[in-house]
Symmetry: C2
Subunit: 378 residues, 2 copies
């Protein structure tokens, strides 16, 4: 089986619909043209209801989610300003690493997969003079959904900017930018939107935009204010040459999401991911995250503890041999967990194939002693 | 005529060959896989002879040429270090703007389109303690080819790093990384290589790599050392999610360039661009750059002075109405010049179409009084 014919069940990049792939084959156009301006404009309009904010304040960076994360921090944080960096997984850690480059980071580290302690967060805020809080909404590395609404409320109370990574929730789970008081939200093209990787979509509040004006050491390529100024012209542009083909793909993917309807799409993601968890419970496989009353299992990726005698890496390898790409654990979680994405264009049939093969592997490795309990839940 | 069916004769993005467009429609694969590692590896091997350096020190950033330019400066310049920033066009100016963000910039500004004065450069170097010189090899905005070899020699003499933008010369004109003593060269995917925009390919010397180890405030997403470390593993990777589809496109474009043969490709570019200049001379249209004995007309883009009574913008607009996209002047050159790219997959037929239409426009606007002098040279 050729790699490109394997079933991608990772938490991104995900399977990309054929019409999105075809869209990328369109001939090149001048990116300083009315036609390209219209592509930007339509993408913004389609993303407005997905971020739940003003489409005019959404920009698209030619770079991956990490580029968007750096743009978010670098565009609003001056040297010496304090940033609380919440971490309960690899992407929270990434925010922390980026944050160290720009501000005076106050790390708040929890065990990966553990829930945040809101009291501790408030304590840090109360200790004074915090300019921003960074948080990952859907922590892909640990399969946990962090409490955006609650942290947003705290940020507001202490007048800190709330910077939220929605890379793996945007387009597949609820993102309420305005209602939660988010100031900068960073999405990615290659997750629940099911476009190819390489673009990061960033929504900004008026408060964030004002803060950018006072931020003197903003990066160059990743300066959000430059992106905002370029889309504020009569003809919408990007400040630097954009990845035109990826914009073609993104637009088609957003049209698909729009025609499905964002509420339906969120429900579909939730249902699919719940069926994965139900299948795991039926096979006696434990979920990885430690929830509390504010956190939830992710609705787009499931992280499971490796069963005794079979590491996450073993499972990943066995699945790959059978033609299905799932994910293991990253960094310190390597071997300890395995993860299945249910993002974007994944179908119940894809889930059935995945759970059936997984069930066989668990059976052949004597983790379970009969077949059929898991797949029955898909 | 639909925009995507217009003939792109700008200095990038350029017309992309159909097989490159088709390559981008391939299904998504995991970017942490042997298959993706092989794509990186083959791209490196094909680019080695185009940069004329060690393929192992070539990395690919998912971001446009400007991202590569920032990566080059940000990865080797510490706060307070002096950088001479040579400028005779918009992209030299861009290097200067980026440079201000990282080091202590020593601008050396010439009129856009004028040649560099090597004595002045040496004077600045001699004044002391310069860490790096930035230069644009092929200054697209002015159609001038700057003296890389000579400036490289000066950089070496004064032990400064030589950072060279080869975005619009790479793959279409001679780039001798090792021989010229370049330390970091930044190429782009959407110019003479004729791949889609969105990738920047960066070659690094051992000296540059050592300097990166001592540079403490390197950016995050654009940290060249992170890219180098990721390709130095047994399985070649990128530090952050790459734009997989653009890598498919780049690989196909590099294979096309390789099968043409880099020497043939350079000759073809030189011949095509010379024929544009010859046509202009025959029609009495003056070239824009002010050459001296070290500079040359660009071999990949031609910049012409607007004839009396007809601005560059008028010509650009008229050409666009007829289905051909050429470029005007940028920023302070707007209206004063017009530019025709002869990069990548452009053919003599495309040039004939372009010059014929231009000749008609000039005739109809009474700039020339007979038809046929220009097209005869294509």
């Amino acid at each position: 089986m050729q790699t490109e014919d394997k079933l991608l069940m990772m938490p991104g990049p995900v399977k990309v619909p054929s019409s999105v792939l075809r869209a990328m084959s369109k001939p090149m156009i001048n990116h300083r043209s009315k036609d390209f301006s219209e592509i930007i404009d339509e993408c913004q309009k389609l993303m407005g209801p997905m971020f739940n904010t003003n489409p005019d304040n959404i920009v698209i960076i030619s770079g991956s989610g990490s580029a968007g994360m750096e743009a978010a921090i670098g565009s609003v944080i001056n040297k010496g300003e304090k940033v609380i960096s919440l971490e309960n997984g690899k992407f929270g850690e990434r925010f922390k690493e980026i944050s160290f480059k720009y501000g005076d980071t106050v790390p708040l580290e929890f065990e990966w997969g553990d829930s945040f302690d809101l009291d501790l967060i408030e304590e840090k805020l109360d200790a004074g003079d915090i300019s921003a809080i960074t948080m990952v909404h859907n922590e892909t590395s640990a399969g946990i959904l962090n409490p955006a609404k609650e942290v947003g409320k705290l940020a507001k109370k202490y007048d800190a900017l709330f910077i939220l990574d929605v890379i793996t929730s945007f387009g597949g789970d609820c993102v309420k930018f305005d209602e939660w008081g988010v100031d900068i939200a960073v999405a990615g093209s290659q997750k629940c939107i099911a476009a190819p990787p390489g673009l990061s979509m960033v929504a900004m509040s008026e408060k964030a935009l004002s803060k950018m004006e006072e931020t003197t050491c903003r990066p160059y390529y990743l300066d959000l204010l430059a992106y905002k100024n370029s889309i504020s012209k009569e003809m919408k542009e990007t400040p630097y040459t954009p990845a035109v083909s990826l914009f073609y793909g993104l637009l088609e993917a957003l049209r698909i999401a729009d025609s499905e309807g964002i509420e339906n799409r969120i429900k579909r993601h939730r249902d699919m991911t719940k069926s994965v968890r139900d299948a795991m419970a039926a096979m006696g496989i434990e979920m990885f995250p430690n929830l509390n009353k504010y956190s939830r299992y992710s609705n787009t990726v499931s992280a499971m503890k490796s069963p005794e005698g079979l590491s996450g890496e073993d499972i990943k390898k066995e699945m790959s041999n059978r033609g299905i790409i799932i994910a293991g654990g990253q960094n310190r979680l390597k071997g300890k967990i395995f993860r299945i994405g249910s993002m974007g264009a994944v179908t119940p049939l894809d889930l059935m194939t995945t759970i059936s093969e997984l069930e066989l592997i668990l059976y052949e490795n004597k983790v379970i002693d009969k077949i059929g309990e898991g797949m029955r839940h898909i």
